[in-house]
């Protein structure tokens, strides 16, 4: 049961971030940081179905994490869901076609190991 929640959290977070990245890359680099322009850009982006779906998946992930915490300790929940970092990096490479070199993999592995150490 615990691992089922972990799987839901990892999948929902990854799905949410993938949709958000896709949509924002299509929008293009935000260059104007004046409040009005930034607000308009984000409002335009938020109207896309991908952003609505990303927010829904984020909510799924949030409530699944709450549910996981109700049956497992933080020292299980945090390191187990840190797998998200590795899964997201894989998806970024395979689906979003980002170039993930050795340095980025090593850095991501160090961060993941660090999260595990902190939480255990």
């Amino acid at each position: 049961m615990k691992w089922l929640f972990v799987a839901v959290i990892v999948a929902a977070t990854t799905g949410s971030d993938t949709l958000l990245t896709r949509r924002m890359k299509r929008h293009g680099e935000i260059r104007d940081f004046r409040p009005g322009a930034l607000g308009r850009a984000l409002r335009a982006a938020a109207r896309a179905w991908q952003v609505a779906a990303a927010i829904f998946l984020l909510a799924v992930s949030f409530f699944a994490f709450m549910a996981l915490l109700s049956i497992a300790d933080m020292s299980f929940a945090v390191p187990a869901t840190a797998a998200t970092l590795v899964v997201e990096t894989l998806v970024a490479r395979q689906i979003l076609r980002e170039r993930v070199g050795a340095k980025r993999w090593l850095g991501t592995a160090l961060v993941t190991a660090g999260i595990v150490l902190i939480a255990l």
Binding site: E29, A92, R104, G107, L110, V111, G114
Partner: protein
């Protein structure tokens, strides 16, 4: 105007700092606000609605909205595989804040974790911010 690459790094770091701080402070506000209520949330929807209107919880939610918008801004130019490990420095920050703001005990193993996260973030930070082709603007 300075070089475009210098600009990109600068704005990436500024927005990344907003993402990390909004997340760490937002979660702390939520946690603090919910604990102050003194009892666990039950199944009644009205209880959740009432909780939202307490100051700390409302502030926490506002900061998490800032977190989402700042992250969307960052992802309009930066790789997901760059943003995720770099903003995970919040895990380390939470441990450091626990030690210095709340006076919690932090074991040597947790300090090692903080160091690993800092090293990993720094390493990813030296890689290209964006490796894919651009959008329309």
């Amino acid at each position: 105007m300075s070089s475009p690459i210098g600009n990109l790094r600068l704005k990436t770091w500024v927005v990344a700092v907003v993402v990390v701080l909004a997340n760490v402070v937002g979660n702390s506000c939520l946690s603090w606000g919910l604990k102050q209520r003194g009892r666990a949330l039950g199944g009644a929807p009205l209880e959740y609605v009432a909780a939202v209107f307490t100051p700390w919880v409302a502030l926490g939610i506002a900061l998490l909205i800032v977190w989402l918008l700042a992250r969307m801004t960052l992802l309009s130019w930066a790789d997901l595989s760059f943003v995720v490990p770099v903003t995970a420095v919040g895990y380390a920050l939470a441990a450091v804040a626990g030690r210095f703001l709340l006076g919690e005990q932090v074991s040597p193993q947790r300090w090692e974790g903080v160091l690993l996260i800092a090293a990993g973030t720094a390493l990813v930070g030296t890689t290209a911010i964006r490796t894919t082709a651009g959008g329309e603007s």
